[in-house]
Symmetry: C2
DNA sequence: CCGAAATCGTCCCATAAACAACAAAACCCT
DNA sequence: AGGGTTTTGTTGTTTATGGGACGATTTCGG
C-alpha cells in the first residue's frame, strides 16, 4: 500500500553527525553559546548543510528532545503486555537505565529553559496512557486526576534524580519507585478531594 | 610554498565511517568472515563508495594498521627530547595507555595472520630509532644488535600483555618495563657473542 | 554435485552535500 | 557610539556519494 520511500543514506549519516556533534556540545557548554559554525565544524559538515536539515539550533534541540521522548515512550510501550500492576511502567529500571545512559544530554537539558517542553511532553504521554489503563474501583477518585498524580510523581522522581547527579543506582531508584507506586496506588493523598 | 589542498569533508567523514565500521566488525568477528556489504551497511555508505577508497578489505586492514602505527610512533617521538635514559621510550605508560584504549582492535589483530606486519613495522621503527640513539661504550656489543634486543623485548612485552587480555594496569606495565630496561641496559644476555 | 543465494567488482545517472561568496545581523572591545 | 570581527542565512556551481543494475564469481544447503 503506502510506499515506504527509504531516505538517502547521506541524509541519515549527516543528520546523525550533526545531532551527535550538537549533543556533545550541548553537554559541555551553554546552549546559547553554541554556534552553527561550531556544530558544522565538529560534525565535519558544511555549514550550509546544517541549514538543509534544521532551520536553526532551536529546532535542532527540539528534534533531539523529540527523539529522546520517542525512545522513552517506546521503552514504556515495550512493557505494555498483560495486566497492569503498579502503574503503566511495570519495571521502571529500563527507564532509569536509559536516563543514566544519556545523562550528559539530559542533565544539560534540565538546566535549560526549554526543558519544560521535554518534561511536559513525557508527562502528558504517561498520564494519558495511565488514564486509559487505570482501573479505579473507588468512585470518589477521578481516574484522570489519579493518572496525573502518578505520572507527575514518577517524572518528578526522575527529574530529581537527574538534577542531583544520579546519587543512587538505577536498580535502587527502580525499587524505590516500585515501592512508592505500589503503596500509593490504592491510597492517594488524603486531602486530594478538597 | 606547497599548497595544502585540504580534502573534501565528505571524504573524511566517509573514510572515518568505513574505518570505524570495519574496526567494530573486526573486533567482534573473524576477519575473513567480514564482507564489504556488511561494512558498507554498518557505515551507512553505499557499497560502491567503499571501493572508491579501498580496493578491498585487505587494504582497509592495512590502512588501519598503518594509522595505529603512525599514532604509536608519534607517541614515541613526542618524548624525544633531552638525553635518552633507558631506551627510546622514556616513559612507556602512554604507549600502554594507547594500546589499552584500542584493545578491541589490537587484540583482534593479534589473533590474525596479518598481525606480523603490524608487529614488524613497529619493531623496525623502534629498533632503528634505538640504533641511532644508543650509546655503547662497550665495544664488544653491537649497537644494532642491542637495539634489536631492546626493541624486541619491549614489543614482546606489549604483545604478551595484549594476548593475555591486559592482566595488569598500564601503570604496572610501564613500571615493569622501566625496571627491566634499566637493568638490562648495560648487561645483555651473556652468550650473545657465540 | 547442482542450483539458489549471496557477494563481488564495476558501471551509469540522480542528487545530497561541499565549497565559495555574499549581504545582513549580531557580537565584541575600547 | 562605532569599527572590526564573527555569525548568520542564502545563493550558485561543483563534486562525492547513493541507488540501482549488471554479469561474474563465490558460498552454501540439500
Amino acid at each position: 500500500m503506502s510506499e515506504v520511500v527509504k531516505t538517502d543514506r547521506r541524509i541519515l549519516r549527516t543528520k546523525q553527525a550533526i545531532t551527535t556533534a550538537f549533543l556533545e556540545l550541548f553537554a559541555k557548554k551553554d546552549f546559547e553559546q553554541i554556534t552553527i559554525n561550531e556544530i558544522a565544524d565538529r560534525a565535519n559538515v558544511n555549514r550550509g548543510t546544517v541549514y538543509l536539515h534544521f532551520s536553526d539550533k532551536y529546532e535542532l534541540l527540539d528534534k533531539c528532545m523529540e527523539s529522546h521522548i520517542q525512545e522513552l515512550i517506546s521503552l514504556c510501550q515495550s512493557q505494555d503486555t498483560g495486566p497492569i500492576q503498579p502503574g503503566v511502567i511495570r519495571d521502571p529500571k529500563p527507564f532509569f537505565d536509559y536516563v543514566q545512559e544519556h545523562y550528559a544530554f539530559l542533565s544539560a537539558l534540565f538546566s535549560n529553559q526549554r526543558a519544560f517542553v521535554f518534561r511536559d511532553r513525557l508527562l502528558h504521554y504517561i498520564a494519558s496512557s495511565l488514564t486509559a489503563k487505570l482501573e479505579r474501583p473507588d468512585r470518589a477518585i477521578d481516574k484522570e486526576v489519579n493518572a496525573q498524580f502518578m505520572a507527575s510523581a514518577f517524572i518528578g522522581v526522575v527529574e530529581w534524580w537527574i538534577r542531583h547527579q544520579m546519587p543512587h543506582s538505577t536498580k535502587y531508584m527502580a525499587d524505590q519507585v516500585h515501592h512508592l507506586f505500589s503503596h500509593s496506588q490504592g491510597s492517594p493523598p488524603a486531602d486530594t478531594r478538597n
